[in-house]
Symmetry: C2
């Protein structure tokens, strides 16, 4: 049985099962060098690949039908039925399988608990024509964001609020940045993410009759003092420069978050989450009955 086998027996099992796409790879193999560039975010990444480690995260790749370019296995560390099952499922869909030594594996792994399973997966960026406006009621637009952790946080909050899609324009960081992956806690595989020119996004939103709501410290209304019915697009601007000019040249509504203390703004990830939850709770219809009884 696989789990009780020696390293040699485990490797032989996988090589026989996946003969056409499985090989032994050393620390100088092209795939390992490619992974180094990706996890350190210091090389161009035209195929938009990301490194995904461990049983939980690898499970998300299966759940959301993510393309797995390569599966890197340290078979010696695959010791539980869960890990074996995930490994088998990933091996079936992976384009390549690389069996590596524990030493090579430890050079690409960032977490100590990845159970010997590392997948090089394709970050699922969508095109605008893959979004069905009829089914997409709430969209958030990230305009010019720079800090990967903020983008990741917003992706996670979009999952938490079941937001239909994220549109990204004027991006200032690599979409495959490991910190986006980490701070999104895997939600980047679930929430549809589109990258487009802002002009194209604006036209699409207008053609499809979205209300465009800018989050802006200079707005007239507070974010809790508006309604979020119908098809809405919530626009969040860059950490340093706010929302870019082109959004101010079109008909929009705008809302602000109250600052009750001394500081004059919130982090954009925090502000976006407040907006998204406000909209989600509003749309659930559940808040009205409470405040009416208060």
């Amino acid at each position: 049985m696989f789990l009780k086998g020696s390293v040699e027996e485990k490797e032989r099992y996988i090589k026989e099962m996946y003969r056409d796409k499985c090989r032994l790879s050393g620390k100088n193999a092209a795939v390992i060098k490619k992974i180094h560039g990706i996890v350190n975010n210091n090389r161009s990444n035209p195929d938009k690949l990301v490194g995904v480690e461990g049983i939980w995260a690898a499970g998300l790749l299966l759940k959301y039908d993510i393309i797995v370019h390569a599966l890197i296995l340290d078979v010696d560390a695959i010791t539980t039925p869960d890990a074996f099952q995930i490994m088998e499922s990933l091996a079936k869909i992976a384009e390549e399988i690389h069996l590596v030594s524990h030493s090579t594996y430890s050079k690409i792994s960032e977490v100590g608990t990845s159970a010997g399973i590392f997948a090089l997966a394709k970050f699922p960026i969508k095109k605008l024509d893959m979004i069905n406006a009829a089914n997409s009621e709430v969209i958030v637009v990230l305009d010019g964001l720079e800090i990967p952790g903020n983008i990741g946080t917003i992706i996670r909050s979009c999952d938490g609020t079941n937001t239909d899609a994220i549109f990204i324009c004027n991006r200032k960081t690599r979409i495959t940045h490991p910190k986006i992956l980490r701070s999104s806690q895997g939600s980047c595989f679930k929430v549809p993410i589109v990258e487009e020119e802002s002009a194209t996004i604006i036209k699409w939103l207008q053609d499809n009759n979205y209300r465009i709501i800018l989050t802006d410290t200079d707005a007239e209304h507070f974010y809790y003092d508006t309604n979020y019915h119908g098809k809405i697009a919530i626009i969040m601007g860059s950490e340093r420069y706010g929302i870019s000019k082109e959004w101010y040249d079109i008909p929009t509504e705008s809302v602000k978050i109250p600052m009750y203390g001394d500081c004059d703004s919130l982090n954009v990830g925090i502000a976006a989450t407040l907006m998204l939850y406000e909209a989600a709770i509003y749309r659930s219809g559940d808040r009205t009955k409470i405040t009416k009884n208060a």
Copy 2:
């Protein structure tokens, strides 16, 4: 005039003005080594000192009456009237002033725009008996938090919502961690922060008749489905383990944040901000009229 003077003239001016506490210090001076340990967070820090750079941040020290242990100046970089004014104000209150070379300064400075002004300041931790329960309506308790960025984010959100105090117990990171400072964006100097044993905090909250509200994914009520009137303490638990057992052994209320999508929780900094804004808006009384008209 100072701003137009040579380095030697500038140094002479400061030495004459602050003769009793000013000295030239090199890269091996004790204070510089101490600062290295603090900004890298790799040495014990019993006096709870933090490094604060630049005109804006140094201005906060003055605004909130923070104790300045030492002021480190690269006089050559002090070139604007604003910088000169902040430097003078800090020099008056600083216990020590160290004039350093540009090369020494660049070794302690983390930002390129700090204008030659670096203060070693005392992080303002308060004791429980310095908090006036009669004036403190909303308190947040951070129980066992591990990640400095989360604590800093919550401090900033407490400022944004004018929360009266932050109580910290079972802390798993150094309160002077540079990332707390950075992510709080200076709000750590404004919002009163108390560190105490959880038993002491619980007794104080009970003696002073606070309602204790746990934020807990297993709660019965949603966070928007409760009221936040009167004196309230909002309890946030650790990233990994949640709220510790002792809080479940006393009478409390509990609320949860709805998860509309696939992910099963939010980052604690995000969750705390949602709670704090919900409470602040509730207490402002401004939301009711909107939802009633909706």
